[in-house]
């Protein structure tokens, strides 16, 4: 790892770990230009446990992360990635997941009773666009494939321009998919920019989903090493602490009910 004892050791392998630089609080570049976020911090801990590897964190866009990991520009990448069928053809998923993510619908207060994608679809509501390369897009798409008679209106867009909370509150859309973490920081937190909307919008979780680092298909050894390290971190409850720190909630409490 990056420990001092490893200096000068020929066996140490430098690997590039890409992270989505604009995905707070999962991964982002902080005010000082340093990478941080739940995903990044877990990987930093993993790095410490792996004396044979030295991680270099490279911030990039999520498009580039996917292509870069696939092409071997990066050995691995973290971007709050979900598991999808297509991705297994391009990437190597490790045994151990990285974290948990609560995916939910942001809704206006009066729509509080909508608790699932089925309810949302039945109401005929409109959904904020999701960037096509975001796994949230795939999650909804999978739902739609499973419920051809009651699909959610799904639109591809650019994450840069979509402010889900504002859009829902304005009425530009009826709902939007969001990860709980950002919603927490934006609305629930006292210093959140939309704390004043706390009484107007709600977050209704519809699923808790495992997130994964993506490895280049050649990186079987690295993935195995990662597996060992993460297993240890989970046992030490390190991940639960990070979940608390970045998402304001220990998602591992509901791990039993997580099915993907």
């Amino acid at each position: 790892g990056s420990g001092d004892d490893a200096e000068g050791d020929d066996a140490v392998r430098k690997v590039k770990i890409a992270y989505d630089q604009a995905s707070k609080p999962m991964s982002w570049i902080d005010e000082n230009g340093k990478p941080t976020g739940y995903d990044v911090e877990v990987m930093k801990l993993v790095d410490e446990l792996l004396p044979d590897y030295e991680f270099e964190f490279v911030g990039t866009t999520s498009d580039d992360l996917l292509i870069g990991v696939e092409q071997g520009k990066f050995q691995a990448g973290v971007k709050n990635a979900f598991w999808t069928e297509e991705r297994t053809k391009k990437f190597l998923y490790p045994e151990e997941f990285l974290g948990l993510s609560s995916a939910g619908l942001v809704l206006r207060k009066e729509d509080e009773n909508i608790k699932s994608l089925e309810d949302f679809a039945s109401a005929g509501y409109s959904l904020a666009p999701i960037a096509a390369n975001n796994a949230q897009y795939t999650v909804i798409e999978e739902y739609n494939n499973a419920h051809p008679d009651n699909p959610v209106k799904l639109q591809a867009g650019d994450s840069f321009t979509v402010d889900v909370v504002q859009w829902v509150n304005e009425g530009r859309v009826d709902g939007g998919v969001m990860i709980e973490g950002p919603f927490e920081k934006q609305v629930t937190a006292k210093d959140g920019p939309y704390h004043h909307l706390e009484e107007e919008v709600v977050y209704n979780e519809f699923d808790v989903i495992k997130t994964w680092p993506l490895f280049n298909r050649e990186e079987k050894e690295l993935a195995a090493a990662y597996d060992g390290a993460v297993k240890k971190l989970k046992e030490e409850k390190k991940l639960e602490e990070l979940s608390e720190e970045f998402y304001g909630r220990n998602l591992f409490d509901v791990l039993d009910s997580v099915d993907r």
């Binding site: 996917l66 666009p129 390369n133 321009t161």
Partner: protein, 237 residues
């Protein structure tokens, strides 16, 4: 480690990208339909030195020329609904701004920027017509309006055509930024298709080909039209 191109995907996605052409053309057409007359009026305001309007036009043109279109898109997309709602509330208009299809934002953004560009195109075209043409028209008893309609505009149009073609091609290219508006045009359609299997390179090759074909056709059409409209310039002697 290196893969080769996924040819079947390349072919399939070419047609997916092609299916975005109607939206691209619709946005282009609407923007042009609005921008041609509006740009012309603004050009007249500068040629004829209409006091306040001339100054406003200058600032407006400078803003459009001075800022990236993607930033104009971001701003429009973020602000237009806010402004409209505020206006509607103030005047008690019962309308929901948010039922707007994103294509309306595309219409707004691209008409807004194209109008500014065309006002410059027309201004320089009008200034290429010799003042003597106007004087000759007056001297045979035409009124100011008649002179413009029958003598000045037909001539200005011809010298505007090459720039009009460039503006159209640039507009078509700019609609590729419609992804930021969730506009279902060529680029976004191909990117969504690419997402399924992460075949980005193939998708971008397809997008590239579609634009190449589209713009070449537009350029060709303009050239043909220019030849027709400019017959009075061709020397047959």
């Amino acid at each position: 480690m290196q893969q080769s191109l996924n040819i079947p995907f390349l072919i399939d996605t070419f047609f997916t990208a092609l299916s975005g052409v109607p939206i691209t053309l619709a946005v282009t057409a609407v923007a042009m339909l609005i921008a041609v007359p509006a740009g012309f009026l603004l050009a007249l305001s500068r040629v004829n030195e209409v006091p306040v309007l001339r100054e406003i036009t200058k600032v407006y043109v400078s803003f459009v020329r001075g800022t990236p279109i993607i930033v104009q898109i971001f701003i429009t997309y973020a602000s237009v609904p806010l402004i409209l709602t505020a206006l509607f509330e103030k005047y008690g208009i019962q309308a929901n701004v948010y039922e707007l299809n994103p294509i309306w934002y595309a219409f707004i953004v691209f008409s807004f920027s194209t109008t500014a560009i065309l006002s410059e195109v027309f201004r320089s075209a009008l200034s290429t017509v010799d003042r003597g043409q106007l004087e000759a028209a007056w001297s045979v008893g035409l009124t100011g309006f008649q002179s413009f309609r029958r003598i000045i505009i037909p001539q200005a149009l011809v010298s505007a055509l090459p720039n009009l073609a460039t503006a159209t091609v640039n507009l078509i290219k700019a609609t590729s930024l419609g992804y930021a508006l969730s506009l279902q045009e060529i680029t976004l359609k191909a990117k969504v298709a690419a997402n399924a299997g992460y075949n980005y390179i193939e998708a971008y090759i397809d997008i590239f080909l579609v634009y190449l074909i589209l713009c070449s056709v537009v350029e060709f059409a303009f050239k043909k039209y220019e030849q027709r409209a400019a017959r009075f310039r061709v020397q047959h002697v």
